[in-house]
Amino acid sequence: MQEQIMPTASPVLTADSITKSFLTTRVLDRVGLTLMPGEVHALLGENGAGKSTLIKILTGAYTHDSGTIRIDGVDVTPRDTAHAQELGIGTVYQEVNLLPNLTVAENLFIGRQPTRFGLVDRRRMERDARRILEPYGLEKLDVSADLGSYSVAVQQIVAIARAVDLSGKVLILDEPTASLDAREVDVLFTVVRRLRAKGLAIVFITHFMDQVFALADRVTVLRNGKLVGSKPIGDLTRMELVTMMLGHALEHESAMRIVKDRPRGERLATFQGYGLAGKIAPFDLNVHSGEVVGVAGLLGSGRTEMARLLFGIDSPDSGSATVDGRSVHLRQARDAIALGFGFCPEDRKTDGILGDLTVRENIMLALQARRGWAKPLSFKEQADLADKFVKALDIRTASVEQPIKLLSGGNQQKVILARWLATEPRFLILDEPTRGIDVGAHAEIIRMINRLCDEGLSLFVISSELEEIVAYSSRVLVLRDRQVVRELTQEDVSTASIMKAIAAEPGEVAA
């Protein structure tokens, strides 16, 4: 256990009742964060919880609508990154935001290089750079070499060194370990612990539970833009932390199973030892027709990576796939589409819809791609097909010629679903199909998943909403730290059993 700073010490930074809305959507609702000197403060939450908005407000990228930020007791409003740095808040992002084409020394000093007679004094700059890096164990680094010639871990430490040198009160580490290997993570943690011992307040954002328990002194959890709680790590069990993040109390089992005993159809696809190093550990998966395989796990646990692998967007580096009893190679999405697979990605704004195209055009996209451009569908056929889906899925749109960007989130989601249904797929992968849509549309999508399944379609559904997964899944795969850690079948499927599997200690098999 690390020595704790006495609670009597005054906070370095206090953010109080921070509220922020984008148009009509409130993304942060009276959220508070208190940072003590010499603590590592883990900031946790699923997608859309408001972590990144809060960080952007602290670093000056956004301005909050109401609430106060105090640094050493003084009210401040960071205007931009540079101002936040002056106030003492430094940030290191997941993707190293330095310049690989400049030297290490230039990266540390750009914007403030020492000059002599108007020219950059390289000797002094490089000497100072070595002095800055020396405590991080990088005294042997050639500071006159391009930053890009070093590994991501070294770049990450250079970024931290720069942030600490510039700011020196609060250091925000936004998923700093995402692209590091185990040994590099150790080095980074040693650096962070030393900085903590020196009295820096460190905000640590990660998706890895183990890292939270290994490093953090205090945890603040956000969910749906609201503060769930802020507790010393010692007062929390893994189970309690997962409960805070996912927002379920274990006591009452609220989720109703809609599917009880759906007869299993024929085996459609088999994946054996399928995996990709660094993305998802090898897993075995059998998909039968007419079943819903639910996938649960925290953000960053490898859910989306698994879906991308199944759909051929990424190629596996181990294992084999069999579809209809024949061995297949899914090297690109086209291969998967040809086999009758469909994929509705997680972020429909960037990966799914083409905002300026009409509802009809958005629906026709996948079918046309499958038929090939040489065999166009007539306008009449397209309109009829689009109409059919608009009716079948109850898509609320003035007409099929409406640009899709004018539709609500739930209706956009249905259009994307229609796009894949138009290709008459046999296996449909849905990544967070109900994210960001209203309650009514939510229920409809779930009903639709059930109906499609009854019609013999196989579905692979990823969702953070545990009730939802429990409601429609025949089986549930639970992922943790890029591994399938548990497969729950039939009567074992419940929110409680999923949460237990997510929260289990590494190595421990969830009961």
């Binding site: 935001n97 330095l98 390289r122 164990g137 010639s149 020196k198």
Partner: protein, 334 residues
């Protein structure tokens, strides 16, 4: 050798080998006379290429330079011959105007977030159009200042002459090298070309730097226009057509990454000299069409673009071994 130096080394090797082949075939090409003419004949191209190097290093492009050269030439001819303005005053006016024009383009590129390609394309048409509005014909300049300057030269041993405009180009390259590789402004240019978003987060003054880059490019195009007018003793609205493309070619052959962020001013000098060498070779040969220059330049461009792709690929693959990291004492925190 750092991978960053490879293109420069390649360019230099090509120049030296090509020159050796030329001398082997035409021993007369090994003389200070030829070298002196190299500098004089390519002075206007070299000067404008320095500005273009800054623009390309920052990840942009400037298509307006050829037109700015022509406009400057026409403006000088009119001011000097029709309004009897002293050439030095006309030069100052032309340079100020060119710099302001470039600053305006830079401001549009930054504040309106329009690609430099589009803005400078507009600038290209504007400057060429303005030059044609001033006159449709070539205006000869007969001023004693012009004849004095063009007659001035430093005699090299072996009969070569180092002209004033050749020396201006050499000076521009020296100043450009210092500016790019030894000042804060220079590092901002490289930073913007490396990754504009990161550069912003690191506190690089993007607005000021972008405006200065395009002001510098247009200023040097103006200076190049002055040199061109001294060289030809005339102003013609259709002069220097396509020079922007020759310039871009010289910069790329000189080893500057077309996507920005990596390169050397001195490489551009070699790039310009390679173009000069090809032209000189054609003159010495006497039977070849001057269009062979374009063909060879085209071929070289292909080679260098492929080389750049390989280089980007190689630098992504090749990480130095991470040095063993032993954590010492952390810095004191305020």
């Amino acid at each position: 050798m750092s991978p960053r130096l490879w293109p420069l080394a390649a360019t230099l090797s090509i120049f030296l080998i090509a020159y050796a082949v030329c001398v082997w075939q035409f021993p007369n090409m090994w003389s200070t006379r030829v070298l002196g003419n190299f500098l004089t004949d390519n002075a206007f191209l070299g000067i404008v290429a320095v500005g273009m190097t800054f623009v390309i290093l920052s990840g942009g492009i400037d298509l307006s330079v050829g037109s700015v050269i022509a406009f400057t030439g026409v403006l000088l001819a009119i001011l000097i011959t029709r309004y009897n303005v002293h050439p030095l005053i006309a030069f100052t006016l032309a340079l100020a105007l060119a710099a302001a024009f470039g600053a305006l383009m830079g401001a549009m590129i930054h504040y309106m977030n329009v690609p430099s390609f589009i803005v400078t394309l507009a600038g290209m048409f504007l400057a060429r159009g303005a030059a044609s509005v001033l006159t449709r014909d070539s205006i000869p300049i007969n001023h004693e200042f012009y004849s004095t300057v063009t007659s001035l030269s430093y005699r090299l041993p072996g009969g070569g002459r180092l002209s004033v405009i050749g020396l201006i180009m050499v000076a521009v390259f020296v100043v450009g090298t210092i500016l790019a590789h030894r000042t804060r402004f220079g590092s901002y240019v490289f930073a913007l070309g490396g990754n504009a978003t990161s550069a912003n987060l690191l506190g690089v003054p993007a607005a000021r730097t972008t405006i200065l880059i395009y002001a510098l490019s247009s200023f040097l195009a103006g200076l190049s226009g002055i040199v061109f007018s001294l060289y030809t003793s005339a102003g013609y609205p259709l002069a220097a057509v396509g020079v922007e493309l020759d310039t871009i070619a010289a910069v790329v052959i000189g080893g500057t990454l077309l996507s920005g962020g990596s390169g050397f001013i001195i490489g551009t000098f070699v790039g310009v000299m390679i173009q000069g060498l090809i032209q000189t070779y054609i003159v010495f040969d006497g039977t070849l069409s001057s269009w062979w220059t374009k063909i060879v330049i085209g071929g070289l461009l292909f080679v260098f673009i492929v080389l750049q792709r390989l280089l980007v690929y190689a630098s992504k693959r090749r990480w130095r071994k991470t040095p063993a990291i032993q954590i010492g004492n952390m810095p004191e925190v305020a």
